[in-house]
Every structure is written in structure tokens, then in C-alpha cells.
Symmetry: C2
Subunit: 353 residues, 2 copies
DNA sequence: CTGTTAGCGCATTCAG
DNA sequence: CTGAATGCGCTAACAG
């Protein structure tokens, strides 16, 4: 039989079936499917009817091959289970789906080498564009992507030297501003809690922002950097390390909300008053940040919106529009809440060790 | 020129280029690429060398069309930003990537109608298998999927009537067991906090499990059901509603950790002692569940592992293995922690009013 | 073991 | 405006 089969025996109706049924050529069917204008209203109606009657669904694999364009966008994030990155993907899918484009996703596990492998594997599937998290990639990754000529967006940070485009915000500026704010509100010995187990540009830039702020204080503070695991447990550990290191520390700026919330909860267990004895700030504005007691001062970025914007730009590029700018800064916002001294509040004498 | 182009001018090397370079036929190159055994070691070496020299990367779109198999698996979850579902996807991608298969993902936003649309769109891309969240789908979705003949796994719950297969655990049993445990430990007036804004089978089964347990108590308790938004804020609201409804309520079984943690934090704000005045239990075992003070009694399921298992089964089915069972129960585990009365603890008189 | 041939289902010429 | 022809890059079947 001439019947094509899907997998194991289900007959799939092809464009030629529709054409025969509507008494037109395959090309004509293709034209109405793809909304080409040059087709008589009468013919269009006949074709559409045939499509409906036969339940025709275009085979996008075949279309992809013929049109040299898949309608698939590839995205690589560190871990799918992390809220921040998942939110970007959520925004991406929302607009992609509206536009008939689909998303292929991979998780690099914070490893540039793994990312490189995934990029290679994805390229073989000929996506129309790429989204990568962050700005740190292997040379091979950069080469592969540049050679492909595809639109590429690196997200969640900014950089002077993007592969193609970058859409994000300055983690450096955010780290610096938040540190400045803590100082302005009266915190005097501010330590930074970072993580080395998931090395990436965002974390590093936040650290550098903190250091930059330290160096500009009237009586320049020596940066105090504590390294922990990026988790609630890590944040709890940071409390122990900080107090052991220097009793004068009166604020912790944690590079992630995960650690910051862990720190707040540890203070609760230990009976350490936040923010009076110890101020705590985070980064990401996870849902738990505003729910925890006391609520957490942190950096907010609308990541779903960022994902939507990334999709918009990527789609426009795929449509052939030339890029206007290599960088889109979506900005960040400091959410000043109760875990740090806030406006009008005075710094009380803390009880000495 | 005969050169094929990727997008805009980048020459892509094809299988025929490799064939010519290695002095063999295209078919032979295809055989070595796909690991067919019937090829002389010497020829294989020549082909591999040519592949390397030319930097050949197979075009998987073309392969998909010719082989009638894409190496793509489609997954649909309610919201990508929710940790529980994202974890399943994480497990899925991990094993898929090892096996050269990729993942296409969509978010239904808890809407069966949206899910139906996505299923339709995905089918046009000819994935080799489907993963769906939960067991509630529109009739059209079920029809489409059955007609496709593709392996389909519904996850995160169990059902008697799967489209094809189901891999998950019994939300009903988990809800019932947890309620039983609360009663066993001395909680007497247990209310259930559910959510109606994201109607789904998992939430409903948890509620039914709760009701089932209530009806078996010595002096059968009338179920008390509180409806809130599925969020930290919703959990906080549940506290207010519960206390207003009946002061005798001494335990809240929340259908999600999100609400349970929100409830615990609200108790902290109101100075309500947990678990002595009010026991609180959740469901999902989010990372925050073990970090919050007091730590949350909840239901744990290893979702990353579940995702891996789903991938394994799906791949095996795609390889042609026939399915042995329509159901895989991955089980659940009660994590009894400090937010409820625990073993050996006695119920104290609670302060009235 | 290996070269050749014939599609996979569609978009896109190119004539008419 | 429309039908027929051509090929996207690859796999699979079939001879050799």
C-alpha cells in the first residue's frame, strides 16, 4: 500500500491526500496551509474543507527539512528544578507556544563542558535559535554557536562580549547597590556569603559587586567572604562560620535567597535577632523571601517577563529582522524588607558576644 | 553551487560529502554513524576519519524524516516554575541526554484545554513518546494520544484507566496515611486545606484520602475542608479561616507544602505554637519543608528518580519492547518531623479560647 | 560487506 | 492563480 504509517500502523494523512480530495495540487494545499495570499478564495475554501474532513495535520518534521527551518528553539539552563531558571523557561514557552514555535530544553548541571555537549547535540536538530544561561561558556561552545549563524541569547546577566546578544541585568551592579544600601542603613560589618560549588558568572559578579562597594566605604571595609553550599543548609552553616570568624559582623549579604533564608531560619533556631543583631539580605526574590519571618531584603528580577522578552527578540530575529542592540538590560529592583535595617531605623548597640 | 546552507550561508557538510571524502557510498557512512555491525573495520576507520576531518554533524531533521523516528520525547507539565514538576523533568532530561534523545516541553497552566492544544501541536512534530502530568485529560487528548499509537506515560498519580501507562504513587493513600498518622499521634480535630484554583487529580485524591481517614476514626470526625490559594499566602490565610471556623481544630493537613509552610510562618507571626497548639502537615517535601522552624511533617516522593524511571520505561518502549505493566507505583514516604506531634509525645491540653 | 536506488512529507521553484 | 517537478539530507531495501 502507499499508506504512510506512524510508528506501527496508524495511517497518517499527507498533503497529497488532501490535494487529491480537494482536486488541487499539493503545492496549492501547502500554500493555503502556510497562508500564502496568492490563492483563490474558492480554492482555499475547498482545501480547508478537505483538511478538516481528513483531519490532516502537517508533518512538521518534513516541513522542517524542506523549509530549512524547524520552529524549535533550544534552551539550556543549569538545573530545571531551580525556580529562577524555570521561571525564565516558563516565560519563554508562554510566548513561543502562541507563535507555533516549540521549546527543546537541556540541563547543564552548572558545567560548561556539559553545556558544550548539549549545544552540540542540539545543533544537530537544527533549532532556529538558542537561549543559554549566563555568560560563561567554553570556547568550543562559542565557536559552534557563532559558526552556526543562529540567533543566540545569553540570559540573566550582562557582558561586553556576548556570543550574539545578551538579555539580563547587571549582577555586579545589583550586588554593589545592595551592599551600599546595607551600609547606608547602618550595617557596619557586612560579610558576603557565596558558593563555590556552582561556579558561574552571576554569583561571581555579585561577589565582585560586594567587594566594589566595600572599597568605597568612608573607612574602607575589608571584604569578608564566606563560602557555603548553595542551599538552606549552606545558609545555616554560614551563620556558624560568620560568628566564629568575627563577632562584629552585623550583616550577611547572601548571594542567593536559598542561603539567606537558610540563614534566617538558623538565627531563629539559635535565638539570634534579625535584623537587630544580624541583618540578612539575599538575591533572587524567591516566593519564600517575602513569606519568611522576618521577610527578606533581596534583589528582584521579573524572570518570567525576562523569558517572554527573550522569546520575543529571538522570534523577531528568526523572522529575519536584524538585531538592533547586542544588549537588553531588564534591570533589577531592591526589595527592602524586614531582615535588614530599613529606612528611619537606627542602629542599636548590639549585645557584645 | 551544490552546497547546502544552514540559515544564511554557512556551508553544512552532508553525508554525501563524507562518502566522497572516504571513497564509500552514502549508505556505508550511514551504517557506521548508526553503529550497524556489518561494516569492515578498515572501512569504518576511513569513514570515521572523514567525519572528523570534515566536522560532519548528522542532520537529525533529515534522519527523523527518513527513519520515521525523531528521538524527541514530549513532556507537558502544569507550570515549569513549580519545583515538584521541574524535578521530574530534571530526571527525564538526565537519562534522555545520555541516550541521544531530547526533550520538548510545554506548560499547560493547569488547564486540560491548554494541554489538549499542546498535545496537538506536539503531535505534529512526531515525538517518539509522551509524558503527561496527572490523570485528568480531555477526551480529545485521550483520543489523539491513543490514535497516535505512541507510548504515553501519565505521571505523579495512579489510575485504573491510563491512556497507556501510569508511573506515580497513590495520592489517595498518601493523604489517608498522613491523616491516620496525625490521629494516631493524638491530633483530634484535623482540618484539610486544599486549593480549588488549580483543580487536578492529585489535589483531589489527597482530599479524598483525608476524608476516607476521617470516616474510619473511632468517633468519626466530620471532615473540615478549607479552600485557599496554593501559595504561602494561601497557607497564612488558612490559619485565619481555621481558627475562625472552629477553635477546636488542632491540626491542619495542607495539600501542598507551599500552603503548609505559609501556615507555619503565619503561626510564627501570630504566636501560635506549632505543634502544641496546632499541628501542621504538608505534601511534597519541598526543600523548605526540612529547613523551616519547626520542620514540616510531609509526604516525600523522589521526583527526580521518578523522572529517570519514566525516561527508562519510555525509551524501552520506543525501542520496541512491549510494556509489561500499565502501572508503576514508585511509592511515597511519610516524613514525620516537628510540626506535628511525633512518636512518644503526648497531647497536652491546649489553652482554650 | 557495500554501492545504488528509492522514498520520507513537505516547500518551492517554474511554467503555464 | 495553480499544477507539476525538484530536492531538503538521510535511512532502508536491494542487489551485487
Amino acid at each position: 500500500m502507499g499508506d504512510t504509517t506512524i510508528r506501527d500502523g496508524k495511517a497518517a494523512v499527507r498533503i497529497s491526500d488532501v490535494a487529491r480530495h480537494a482536486n488541487v495540487g499539493a503545492g496549492t494545499v501547502s500554500r493555503v496551509i502556510n497562508g500564502s495570499q496568492s490563492v483563490a478564495p474558492e480554492t482555499r475554501k475547498r482545501v480547508l474543507a478537505a483538511v478538516r474532513e481528513l483531519g490532516y495535520v502537517p508533518n512538521l518534521v518534513a516541513r522542517s527539512l524542506a523549509a530549512n527551518r524547524t520552529g524549535i528553539i533550544a534552551a539550556i539552563i543549569p538545573v530545571i528544578g531551580y525556580t529562577q531558571h524555570a521561571q525564565v523557561i516558563q516565560g519563554l514557552t508562554e510566548v513561543l507556544h502562541e507563535r507555533g514555535t516549540n521549546l527543546m530544553i537541556g540541563a547543564s548541571g552548572h558545567s560548561p563542558e556539559m553545556e558544550e555537549k548539549i549545544v552540540g547535540a542540539f545543533l544537530a536538530r537544527r533549532p532556529d535559535a538558542f537561549y543559554l544561561t549566563g555568560t560563561w561558556h567554553t570556547d568550543v561552545t562559542r565557536e559552534l554557536l557563532k559558526a552556526s549563524g543562529l540567533p543566540v541569547i545569553e540570559g540573566s546577566n550582562l557582558t561586553e562580549t556576548p556570543i550574539d546578544m545578551v538579555v539580563g541585568y547587571s549582577n555586579f551592579a545589583a550586588g554593589r547597590e545592595l551592599t551600599r544600601l546595607l551600609a547606608l542603613r547602618g550595617h557596619r560589618h557586612i560579610a558576603h556569603v557565596t558558593t563555590k560549588y556552582e561556579p558561574n558568572d552571576r554569583i561571581t559578579d555579585r561577589l565582585n559587586g560586594y567587594k566594589a562597594a566595600c572599597s568605597e566605604f568612608p573607612r574602607a571595609q575589608q571584604p569578608i567572604v564566606i563560602e557555603c553550599e548553595n542551599s538552606f543548609e549552606g545558609g545555616a552553616e554560614a551563620i556558624a562560620l560568620a560568628l566564629k570568624f568575627d563577632q562584629r559582623i552585623d550583616a550577611l549579604f547572601c548571594a542567593t535567597d536559598l542561603m539567606a533564608v537558610g540563614a534566617i531560619l538558623e538565627c531563629q533556631r539559635r535565638g539570634i535577632e534579625v535584623p537587630t543583631r544580624l541583618g540578612i539580605a539575599g538575591f533572587d526574590d524567591l516566593p519564600i523571601a517575602s513569606a519568611v519571618v522576618p521577610s527578606l531584603t533581596t534583589i528582584h528580577v521579573d524572570r518570567v517577563e525576562m523569558g517572554r522578552k527573550i522569546a520575543e527578540v529571538l522570534l523577531r530575529r528568526v523572522e529575519g529582522e536584524s538585531l538592533l542592540s547586542h544588549e537588553i538590560d531588564v534591570g533589577f529592583e531592591i526589595k527592602e524588607r524586614n531582615s535588614t535595617f530599613t529606612k528611619g531605623e537606627k542602629r542599636r548597640n548590639r549585645s557584645t558576644g
